[in-house]
Symmetry: C2
Subunit: 360 residues, 2 copies
């Protein structure tokens, strides 16, 4: 329960007291069952190699000692940790969590353990996280996002395990990628608005600056910009303001700003459903009818978009599927016949038409 105080405890910082082993070891079990360590080991990993009678005896010893094999020790010997590292921007974004769930769906049955960390959208922090993770000797590393600091990129480039970048653009990954084109998302939004007859199209995004930046959101905005230009439309209603990541509040506040600056805006694309819902709510408060007076489109297909009024038209990427595919890719790459070429899987995007986008 409580740690035994080292005998030399002076109340000060006693850093180097090697705590006594409090766990039963394989030797304890082997003695109790009167077999060799190896037999115990076999009972636990290849039971069919051990005679039923002996096996039973060993299992009883295991149970009576509450023996739980130490995977740290096992890993050192087998050189297989069973860890797969996962780096997310944050744990608080459901879509990123879905990537983790998707990975777990595939990897948990194969006895892999996810090592999940996050970097709060900071490339600097991401680099130190990657470094820490590598010290744990994961068998593969999965990262949400393809933008890395110079140091992180160097780290990943010289690593000898599968590296999979997910939920981002699949162009020029370090090794492998499972994702979609963020620019394409922006283009889809633009095309949809244009098809609906809108010409005064705006957008809400964060301002990209320095270490903390939402590269994926920015890419979406660039896609929209490109589409607008292609159609000879103005891009002046695209608002980049505030810090990443965007939120409900961001959407509400910035929609107000956009409306003040460009009262003539007909349709707004938000880099995230969160901002879109915030914008929608701000419209309710201002008495701006959606979609009659203003159309709103989001990105990400968050649950909330389905219940708001009107329901939110959005662009969907299946993040759980991304996780699953990444997980399967990890298994393939770690398997007996790993694919030789880098995999670049594009899971595509779907425009989900609901109620928040009208037409002219």
């Amino acid at each position: 329960m409580t740690r035994a105080l080292p005998p030399t405890a002076k109340g000060g910082a006693v850093a180097s007291d090697r705590p006594p082993s409090r766990h039963a070891t394989i030797r304890d079990v082997s003695k109790l069952a009167d077999v060799s360590r190896m037999t115990v080991s076999r009972v636990l990993s290849n039971p069919e190699l051990v005679k039923a009678e002996t096996r039973e005896r060993v299992l009883q010893a295991v149970a009576s000692l509450n023996y739980v094999p130490d995977r740290t020790a096992g890993s050192l010997s087998t050189r297989r940790t069973g860890f797969v590292a996962l780096v997310l921007p944050t744990l608080t974004n459901v879509n990123f969590s879905m990537v983790a769930h998707g990975l777990t769906d595939v990897l948990r049955p194969k006895a892999f353990q996810l090592l999940i960390t996050y970097d709060n959208y900071s490339q600097q922090e991401r680099e130190t996280q990657i470094r820490n993770l590598l010290a744990r000797r994961p068998e593969a590393i999965v990262l949400v996002g393809a933008a890395h600091s110079r140091g992180a990129a160097a780290l990943l480039a010289q690593v000898d395990i599968p590296v999979i970048e997910v939920a981002d653009d699949t162009t020029r990954p370090v090794q492998h990628a499972v994702g979609f084109s963020n620019q394409e998302a922006g283009r889809m939004a633009g095309q949809h608005f244009i098809r609906r007859g809108f010409t005064r199209i705006g957008a809400l995004a964060s301002q990209p600056h320095g270490d903390l930046a939402d590269h994926r959101g920015e890419a979406r905005i660039r896609g929209l910009e490109a589409e607008l230009r292609l159609n000879g439309l103005s891009t002046e209603r695209i608002l980049r303001d505030g810090d990443a990541p965007v939120s409900y509040d961001h959407g509400a506040a910035k929609l107000g700003l956009l409306l003040d600056r460009h009262p003539d805006v007909e349709a707004v694309f938000c880099v995230s459903d969160l901002a879109a819902v915030g914008a929608l709510m701000e419209c309710q408060r201002r008495g701006v009818a959606v979609p009659d007076q203003l159309s709103i489109m989001g990105f990400g297909d968050f649950d909330i978009g389905r219940v708001v009024n009107p329901s939110l038209t959005t662009i969907r990427a299946d993040f759980q599927d991304i996780g699953r595919q990444a997980g399967q890719l990890v298994l393939d790459l770690l398997g007996p016949a790993p694919p030789a070429a880098p995999e670049m899987i594009d899971v595509g995007l779907t425009l989900v038409e609901r109620g928040s986008v009208g037409h002219r």
Copy 2:
């Protein structure tokens, strides 16, 4: 990049090929720097013990070999893994994620690494997750929720590391607890409604059944029930229906059901803000004015509650603070002077009055 195929590869399942070491070891570094292993080890953990000149030489060797110390090996020797295990119901609930963030806030600076898993609200799965985690020899284990299967409870009871149950009731924890009273939350909701003059009070919750059950939500409901009874009010408008965990959709659907069954209901408490927001949206669709015709209260103070119209009155528990306090408790318990008695920290609850609750 790709795994070297074992020389014996027949294309079949080659399970037991011990992959050759692909990482530089401390010996490699020591040879290159022409020092002993121990000097290298010291440079990396107690640099001040090594002469500046030697240190420099070692660091160069480290850099040129891209040496990353293997924490698996280190852990085996020091008997300190630096892992703190965290078991959540799911990764997709922001409040649980906030617990993880709070823990990280405190533990990351102390070089601990969270080992995060989730059990999809299944006690059975939770038990196997705990078992897997223990094999990794975490130095402490933090669990969201205090309800465990018989096996899990046994596992936790005989473990020799700090066990902290968080974000749940703090009564009778296995060891320590950081949380709040869910029943109290229900009572607070009831009291607030009653103060506002309502008598026909209802609630939305999931149906508790079997392995998958939302014990926390159920406790809130029981608190509300108790409060209603205490005031001689009917509890018949409390609706327990559908599977846990509740969601926006659940709230929307079940509010409809409640309204159909009890058109006279004046105020509804939802076990989660998610359900509350869903209910609110359903009201918008049905033309039921909130709060004029119906008052709605949630639990959890999710971001979305602040932006909807009307904004959502809710009961707030500071989940990130829970995480931080749990993290600090871990540090204390692992420190040189661990508290002897079990800690039971109640972080309390706050009623956040916003727009969705009116009065008679």
